[in-house]
Amino acid sequence: GDKVKQSPSALSLQEGTNSALRCNFSIAATTVQWFLQNPRGSLINLFYLVPGTKENGRLKSAFDSKESYSTLHIRDAQLEDSGTYFCAAGVSNTNKVVFGTGTRLQVLP
């Protein structure tokens, strides 16, 4: 099965509303990164986390390694937030990185 499962797989939001994306890990993740992939395929770095929380503008992320999950909260969604969000887990004691299944987000005017 998927070692890093993201939920929901797809989401449509009205502009100005809030959302929460989640990653559940079935591997020993020691770090998490969150990316936004735009329609051209470019990956935009959002957060890099060791266990804890970070906030940047309208975005906030948390990583709990003991409970094996990470979340990404988007506040006051804007049209430019549309795209596919990926989390990526750094695997303990390796240089391996496992990407999640992705969440396709569409923000509607």
Binding site: T31, Q33, F35, G41, S42, L43, N45, Y48, F86, A88, N95, K96, V97, V98, F99, G100, T101, G102
Partner: protein, 109 residues
């Protein structure tokens, strides 16, 4: 500032033909380097990583090989392309968090 360049931008190749994709990182000394593959609509799959010149570790077998001939260069290649090699290839570097290049879109016919 660090820059990561991938070439070519896109490629259309015949089944059975050889392939070479390149990645160059400027502005960072001795980074970890990675190759990823992404099927259309899918997630990213880590293929290879390298922590130093001349050393490459394979993460998944896809009839591809990788080499790191210089500190700032990472090459992905195969002697015979398969239809299943079609997709989006991304190179990344890290000292801690990963940063991705713009990608190469490969179509195998």
């Amino acid at each position: 500032a660090q820059t990561i360049h991938q070439w070519p931008v896109a490629e259309i190749k015949a089944v059975g033909s050889p392939l070479s994709l390149g990645c160059t990182i400027k502005g960072k000394s001795s980074p970890n380097l990675y190759w990823y593959w992404q099927a259309t609509g899918g997630t990213l799959q880590q293929l290879f990583y390298s922590i130093t010149v001349g050393q490459v570790e394979s993460v998944v077998q896809l009839n591809l090989s990788a080499s790191r001939p210089k500190d700032d260069q990472f090459i992905l290649s195969t002697e015979k392309l398969l239809l299943s090699h079609s997709g989006f290839y991304l190179c990344a570097w890290s000292l801690r968090e990963q940063y991705f290049g713009p990608g190469t879109r490969l179509t195998v016919l």
